[in-house]
Amino acid sequence: MPLWFARGLRRGVVTTRYPARSDPSAASLPTPPAFRPRQLTVQIVDRMIAECPGTALSRAASTLVFDVGACTACGRCARVAPHAVTPSGEFELAATARSALVKMIPIRGEQR
């Protein structure tokens, strides 16, 4: 046991300060995408929806319905349209209402 005691002292504190302070390791976590409505066109959106392995993306008329809860942050939509999608960097996503996790993204891109 003294061995372990010494080890512990040498190791020091590794515990995160979260939630009091932000945690640097969060920077490298995969996060759900954020969209640029100006860059979104119906075609792009449909390609994204086809690419999405889960059920996160769907389209209602000219609105991209984004279910953050269903999103696995796999980044495939971003690879379809890198210019229209960027990682949101948000990892504090807990919600107390399922509906709060469903986001309406307007599709603003002009049809070509």
């Binding site: 590794v14 515990t15 995160t16 979260y18 939630p19 945690d23 390791s25 969060a26 976590l29 759900p32 995408p33 954020a34 969209f35 640029r36 409505p37 100006r38 889960g54 059920t55 996160a56 984004f66 279910d67 953050v68 809860g69 269903a70 999103c71 696995t72 942050a73 796999c74 999608v85 960027t86 949101s88 948000e90 990892f91 504090e92 996503l93 807990a94 919600a95 107390t96 209402a97 399922r98 709060a100 996790l101 986001k103 993204i105 307007p106 603003r108």
Partner: protein, 168 residues
């Protein structure tokens, strides 16, 4: 299952009661309803030195009788439904159910003969934690939200990238 006083209460006052009762210390029972074992790994890491959820007054308990919060992972396999209900029943009220990870939120599996596809189909969920898997930090935030100790950011988020702020 037959409704309990704490289930019939609205989520809001339930959260108030929980904040009042579990504000400082809360015991967590985890339940795997068909996850891929990664969510479990992240949950185990909550107790590891890097995250150490005990400092926040959270504790894991193997006995649902002592548990205040049920942390559910996985798409709720139908064959597991009996066990899931039993576990929920075995917890004393007031109790919080937290659906954890994309599977539990219906992101990976659709409802079919094998799985319900999401926890909500069987248990009354109070808090949803997205992510595949939700990182320990996300879990900490979710737990904080569940006991009303942290403000939830979700309603405020638009997932519209900056530079397009005029998206409203």
């Amino acid at each position: 299952m037959k409704p309990r006083p704490d289930e019939t209460a609205t989520a809001e006052e339930l959260r108030k009661r929980i904040a009042a009762q579990f504000g400082r210390s809360l015991h967590i029972r985890t339940m795997d309803t068909g996850s891929c074992a990664v969510c479990e790994q992240e949950i185990r890491l909550l107790a590891a030195p890097h995250y150490d959820l005990h400092r926040l007054g959270f504790f894991f308990t193997p006995a649902p009788r002592h548990a205040d919060l049920l942390l559910v992972t996985g798409p709720m396999v139908r064959a597991f439904e009996v066990a899931a209900r039993k576990t929920y029943e075995a917890m004393p009220g007031p109790k919080v159910v937290v659906a954890t990870g994309a599977c539990a939120l219906g992101g990976v599996y659709q409802a079919d003969p094998f799985v319900h596809g999401e926890v909500e189909a069987v248990l009354p969920v109070d808090v949803w934690i997205p992510g595949c898997p939700p990182s320990p930090l996300a879990l900490l935030q979710g737990l904080g939200v569940a006991v009303g100790r942290l403000a939830e950011k979700m309603p405020g988020l638009t997932f519209v990238a900056d530079g397009d702020g005029d998206a409203r």
